[in-house]
């Protein structure tokens, strides 16, 4: 199992009803279906990804997350998941709020724009960082909101969102004591498990 999926999987109760926002090719839901007997759907915008989900037998619904999630009933899912897409949405705060309106719990993962390489790139080169982990130039990046772990946690505090667990890892989804000491400086990806 992909290491980030393994982390997320720990937080999903067997047999629960989940919604995966921006589910990609359906790998996560496929794993959760097999190992945790979950039900639920992925929401996805890309046709090729949707075709791959359907081929796998993963239930996927074509949807642009920027259109909102207003038509989905309150508390209709056990867990709402969003991996590596929050920074690509037009209104990340509204998405996080919606996740905890329609789901009892939420799982969010995103890249840390406060990682030291990003900080130093910007301060040394004076240009927007391009790295292996963030490979896009500023004008073509799908990442339209840049935020750090600390930014995200401030948002959660302001909105009364309770963080149940936070896991900070590097790009290979590995952790070590240094990352644990200075997560917002050394961590590349964070995985948050949240509730109201």
């Amino acid at each position: 199992m992909r290491p980030d999926l393994e982390y997320i999987s720990q937080w999903i109760k067997p047999g629960s009803h989940v919604l995966d926002l921006g589910c990609g090719d359906g790998s996560l839901l496929d794993q959760l279906r097999q190992h945790k007997a979950v039900t639920g759907y992925g929401l996805e915008i890309d046709t090729q990804n949707i075709l791959e989900c359907v081929r796998k037998g993963v239930d996927v619904v074509h949807r642009d997350l920027n259109d909102g999630l207003d038509d989905i009933d309150d508390q209709s899912f056990d867990t709402v998941i969003m991996t590596q897409s929050l920074q690509q949405t037009r209104k990340p705060d509204a998405i996080v709020e919606a996740m905890l309106r329609i789901g009892r719990e939420a799982v969010v993962t995103f890249p840390n724009f406060g990682h030291w390489t990003v900080r130093s790139y910007l301060s040394i080169h004076g240009r927007m960082p391009v790295s292996e982990n963030l490979p896009y130039t500023w004008y073509e990046t799908p990442n339209i909101h840049f935020f750090t772990f600390r930014d995200f946690e401030v948002l959660c505090r302001e909105r009364g969102i309770k963080i149940l667990t936070r896991t900070v890892v590097d790009r290979n989804h590995k952790s070590n004591w240094r990352i644990q000491m200075l997560p917002n400086f050394l961590g590349e990806i964070a995985l948050y498990h949240m509730t109201r």
Binding site: T39, Y41, T47, L51, V61
Partner: protein, 382 residues
């Protein structure tokens, strides 16, 4: 004429007839004492009888969905693009059954058939069919063919509504349900178009209150107008612009009321051709079945509660330029299925052809259906 039948075609096909002597009670309260269904099959039913797929046709469709009827046949069946060896509905894998609905005019009992009670043609006295009546008759054919459970029931437009009805009325009898370019019920605008089509037919002096057979005539003009109107709603603004633009037939304006523009001549041709081959009473009846379709009605308008009956997996699909049954209409079905926690996948396919797109072999569409059917086979019986 197909000089040579392509390798991915089911080849020469011939219709079969099933006669039923047990009365069929109908939603209208009436019943059909006896009736026949004409159908075609493609591919082979496997030993476990688990690979059968039912194709439901749309408003003006029929049982001839794939292959050629003879070597002189100019065109293959109406969904030949998707049914055949190696195609989305792969006849190397699946046993495909395609039925002409009751009330039709291609061989199944309908207005042009003789009423055993009177010995005359039914004409306008043929009972108005509801989608659930068709589905019931299709279930009886499935019994006859020894098919306890369809691998999938598949349909576009009015055919998609039949597929949806299958999932509600016979939840144990299908594993997959593909609802393509359909709607959970018609809008006022949809009904309005149907009403104009019907008025075109019934106001034709040759209609004779539906008894035109006895006058050895048919309401050709009315049927032609109905089809011309319908045809506009099957195409998109963009596809008409692309196909015809403002092209002139003679290269100049003629300052009379003949067809100046190519689009006029195309519609006239389509309408005339249709009026030669289709029965007006059938057209009236089919449009009524569309207007009446509203499965949520039995559940105080709650589609999710209605679909709670279903047990199968669903595939819902729409086309970006379809304005007859726009993507939003398919999304209504999807939302209700999600609310009812049913297994559903949905894709809006980017296609320029309007409502008609469901008949075209669009790459994503073909892969969508093929992938869905394959996933049903992989999943095992529920």
């Amino acid at each position: 004429m197909p000089i040579e039948i392509p390798a991915d075609n089911v080849g020469l096909v011939s219709p079969q007839i099933a006669q039923f002597d047990e009365a069929l009670p109908l939603r209208s309260g009436r019943s059909l004492a006896e009736y026949q269904l004409v159908y075609e099959t493609y591919g082979t039913l496997n030993a476990g009888r688990s690979n059968a797929i039912l194709i439901c046709h749309a408003l003006s469709g029929n049982h001839h969905a794939a292959g050629y009827l003879s070597m002189e046949d100019r065109k293959p069946g109406w969904w030949d693009a998707c049914i055949g060896p190696g195609k989305a509905i792969d006849t190397n894998k699946y046993f495909v059954v395609s039925i002409n609905n009751l009330g039709g005019c291609h061989g199944s009992t309908g207005p042009t058939s003789l009423d055993p009670a009177t010995g005359r043609r039914y004409g306008p006295d043929f009972p108005i069919m509801a989608v659930r009546d068709w589905v019931k008759s299709q279930a009886r054919l499935a019994d006859r063919l020894g098919i306890e459970q369809w691998l999938a029931v598949v349909g576009g437009s009015l055919g998609g509504m039949q597929a949806l009805r299958w999932s509600i009325d016979y939840p144990e009898r299908l594993r997959g349900c593909a609802v393509i370019a359909a709607a959970p019920k018609l809008s006022a605008q949809n009904i309005a178009f149907n009403e104009v089509a019907r008025q075109a037919i019934v106001s034709d002096p040759d209609f004779h209150e539906g008894h035109y057979y006895e006058h050895n005539t048919k309401p050709r003009r009315g049927l032609m107008l109905a089809r011309m109107l319908g045809h506009i709603t099957y195409l998109s603004d963009g596809s008409m612009r692309e196909k015809f633009g403002r092209d002139l037939r003679t290269g100049k304006l003629n300052f009379n009321f003949d067809a100046d523009f190519e689009v006029e001549s195309y519609l006239r041709y389509q309408g005339e051709n249709f009026s030669d081959h289709f029965d007006a009473n059938t057209y009236l009846l089919m449009t009524k079945a569309l207007d009446y379709f509203d499965p949520a009605r039995d559940f105080d308008g709650d589609l999710a509660a209605c679909l709670a009956q279903a047990r199968c997996r669903f595939l819902v699909s729409s086309f970006s330029t379809d304005w007859r049954f726009a993507p939003e209409r398919s999304e209504e079905i999807v939302k209700a299925l999600m609310r009812a926690r049913k297994a559903v996948s949905y894709l809006e396919i980017d296609a320029p052809q309007g409502h008609d797109a469901f008949l075209f072999p669009i790459d994503e569409y073909v892969r969508l259906i093929g992938g869905f059917l394959a996933s049903l086979t992989a999943g095992g019986k529920h």
